[in-house]
Symmetry: D2
Subunit: 340 residues, 4 copies
């Protein structure tokens, strides 16, 4: 069987360690290196006690990792740092899945406007493929750089894209009210991730078109619709570790059932999208620790918006699981390998 | 000082015990009786261990309570049961605050449609006053029956009512995306309140104009606007004990700042509404265990909806605290007594 | 490859659904039937939304299951019900792993004293094997009935048994202070599992040699030591879904490091016991969703007790994972199949 | 009525803000200043959103606070920093309650051994009074410096001290297995207080006589018993915001009921100790947001240890509530003022 040698940059982030865990279950991928700025020289199992005996690999630097080499590199580093660190791998011809935002935004001015930094290697942006398998599978298969979508965007785009692409279906006034578990904020210490501040709390943030994920959401929805779309998006913090639930309101000429039928048909062959009945609402518990995106539609009628509800695990379908799905596609493997 | 003799029907519900706790801090109200169907004959402190030495009163039946009598009766019983049980107290001329929905809905057909039951004493519905002090203070002062608003409605109406009442302010396409802690579902056992099912979960329910609170929300918003309003409302369950946060989207001819100014002015003299700055978003932690409703406005511009965010403690401003505020108004007491 | 046809009785309990999930990852076991009293006729995925597309099998009755047949039956039913329901399978020669307490207690009088019921099929108790693979592997391999240990007992016995079996090591005055997540209390509705009662709470229960698990703990520790042992055991409820952490105090003639060495040596070849360093304390996060039991030793010296800390996932090594490990041993399969 | 002018040093710690909240309910104490190193110049309500309209005081420096002056200063600063910062207030004759460990340990060598620092003002240690009102009320009344006990020690000493002081009662082999909510770890950012690390986790720490609170526990228990006592103490972290539950095992010549009777008698007149029945076990939910310490006794017989279970709110009876109780005693006020 084909063997894929994998490297993980930024392996001590929550998405990094999730990727290591998923890769353990993969039938033909092996981890060649794991890197970390903060923990270089330590073992993965010293940083994450649950990894003892599972991944005791020593964390190395990106420089040393380059010498080791890999067939596929995953970057779990923050934006800008990611592209800069990956550049030598790209130059060396290594195929990569970037979990940061660096290669998601096609328009460099938009990237700079949202991320407040010049792109470190703009020459590679155009050739990068947006890694949403349900909509870019063919391009992902041959891509050198796959830009893994953001967690919120994945949960918002999956229910909407089939409708926006559907001729005769009008969609307008999109409002995405999203709720995320705290692991989405990462492992860096900050008061907004401090246990006592989050526990028994619930809050909105980046309200009013301030969240960076809007760049890719608008880009992809506009591309699908063939016209300029600017959604309303409010992220919220749920006192839970994992998961995103998005409640998406929109005006449409379709009933909720018609929306459901269109989306169900669009995803009929998809292994990781479950379109549920209108009385069988997606919830976090239904998807955490899996690569599923659960979707349904309700509401509508009498001038009311139709409401999509979607749920994913932010660390799996919203990050590392989708990254692995992308790798499987890139290397011609069973798309569900490591993700069942 | 004037003494108010208080009785609590359904005292072993979460709203009932919250009321008992609040009344302990009241300077001139004393609890004359507490009733319970399930725990009659037990002491409050046997049902709620935290009440030992605080409220050791023996739970009695509504029948025996009637003989004891009170200046003010609070009903924390479920709808229909509440009106039926309260009827003898009403007949006896006792003033009451009903925390159930029984006296909130002015239109009897609407009540029956939403609550699936004939009203037990329709003759008293018309004279009941909707107990939202910020908007019905004068009427509450002399009311015999005060219908304490629902928790979700309180969080949704408070930010919207001043705008709807404001001449020249247009408000349309209202969508309330609300998130509630689990105590809102009460103390009755059900799988949806079972720890393992709720913990690390987040879910929507009663989606698409199915939740009963729509009856009073539409009624009050329509009354304020002078036209028929039907909002979109999606309640969600937060894995936390207390609190409601509502994110309310609406189209308007005002900017977020103008909305904020209008609402701030409307509530300038209100002791329990805090209109916060647009960068100082309300959150559950800011209001739990208090009678405050925190409100702010953001978003808008460029065709985007303005977004109100409001937060309350569902058991305090959303139930027992507001009930006590109503009692204070009814009996000419300091409105903040017991609620500071 | 050998195929094992598996049946699950009581599949809608938390241990039942956990078993179904683990079996999905097994290379050669397939689920032939799932039974449920409460949900007969429904699909697993109607009861557990996360199972949609994963296990859509229809829940049947034990009677119908008997006609289907299986190589190995797992019982996830409550004690007494379990032995009664399993009897026809046993009679039919089906090998079984019983997750209830029915076949754990060798002394029938003790069983009746603790479980307040006559044993439904006492004739099978003697031949049943206590399913703690680390100490009964040989007997499990050929057993017809394997009595899967309780969750608390597994966490308490694993650190102690090698010491009690070690010649020259004295162990006395054992106190096990254990803390369990709420899934250990099962899926049946009760106030002590009601979200609002458990959340932000922490409590002891069955204090003072009142918990039924004492029967098997004393039995197994006494058997290992060759003398009568009665431990002190206090279970506590942690506001978390999964996991048990036991802090076990005992007087001994060994230092903590010597205890650690003895236990490390005893479990050197064990795939699912991780003996950690004394500064690398086991915690729930380190073991949940795995079949590991993490153990270390600290304290001692100057008359102080040595302290063992152990952690397991109550639903995996404490129940369904260990049951699957037992099945693997019984059928001569890779012991880690489905459990990696 | 006598007015007490109060100052709070380190007011943006969790104990500081809790003290501000408690003082709001006090009938005759007013806050003259609040200080903070990190937030000087900001308002309390900018740091803690819930304080808007409740405490909008501007945080100042200890130097400026000295000029303002107060009748009673509370220090919520870390050890060593506390004594150093308080020194000018002490010199100026201000009475103080120190919530840090600085004045708890009478033996300077022990202080230095446990806290790894020379005491900043050893000349004041001897005259300081250990602020456990139930055992030092008379001395507290006239003290200049009251050393407010630690949270764990309060929960462990209260059930044990009456037994140790009781002639004819033997107590030996004390093991305190304590469990604390996360607010006990303070507001400083650290990975062990990071939401994702704590949530759904449970862990032991400082195991084997390593926790600093042992210094004061051993000191006070030894003083009460008139002999040298060294207890075994294991702290654990509970995934909850507030509360400590201690399960304390000890050998004794008394039954559990006798222990209960002795302790009940000792605390008969105490407003903040509730000795509960042996079947009415203390739990966090019973005491959080109150100044109560709940206690009961169980176990014993047949060579088994007797088991005390005690529960407090770590931020109230374990810190700020007890500090306020001490102030009330120092200034001859109603001991329960602000704490009902």
């Amino acid at each position: 069987m084909k063997q894929v040698k994998v490297g993980i940059l930024g392996a001590t982030s929550y998405t990094g360690v999730e990727l290591v865990k998923l890769l353990r279950k993969h039938s033909c991928a092996s981890v060649a290196f794991v890197t970390s700025q903060s923990y270089e020289g330590k073992r993965m199992s010293e940083v994450f006690p649950e990894m003892l005996g599972i991944c005791d690999a020593t964390l190395t630097s990106p420089e040393k990792a380059l010498a080791i080499g890999a067939d596929c590199v995953f970057s779990c580093m923050p934006h800008a740092v990611s592209a800069t660190t990956c550049l030598p791998f790209i130059t060396a011809g290594t195929r990569m899945v970037d979990l940061s935002a660096d290669f998601r935004i096609r328009d460099l001015a938009s990237y700079t406007a949202w991320y407040k930094v010049e792109h470190p290697c703009p020459q590679y942006v155009r050739s990068a493929v947006f890694g949403l398998p349900e909509h870019y599978r063919t391009q992902i298969a041959t891509a050198s750089i796959v830009a893994n979508p953001g967690c919120y965007p994945t949960s918002i785009m999956l229910p909407l894209l089939p409708l926006l692409k559907n001729p005769g279906t009008l969609v307008a006034a999109i409002i995405a009210d999203s709720k995320s578990g705290v692991s989405g904020a990462g492992r860096s210490l900050k008061l907004t991730s401090h246990y006592v501040e989050v526990n028994e709390n619930f809050s909105a943030y980046s309200i009013g078109r301030k969240h960076r994920h809007l760049a890719e959401i608008d880009q992809e929805l506009s591309a699908a619709a063939g016209r300029d779309i600017k959604i309303t998006f409010t992220p919220h913090l749920v006192p839970a570790t994992r998961g995103i639930l998005s409640t998406v309101y929109f005006q449409t000429n379709r009933t909720a059932q018609e929306c459901l039928d269109i989306v169900k048909k669009a995803y009929a062959a998809e292994p990781f999208v479950r379109v549920r009945g209108p009385d069988d609402l997606p919830c976090l518990k239904g998807v955490v620790h899996s690569n599923y995106c659960d979707i349904t539609f309700a509401g509508g009628g009498d001038g009311q918006p139709v409401i999509a509800v979607s749920a994913i695990d932010n660390l799996v379908k919203g990050a590392s699981g989708q990254a692995l799905q992308n790798m499987n596609i890139m290397f011609g493997l069973d798309e569900q390998d490591g993700l069942r």
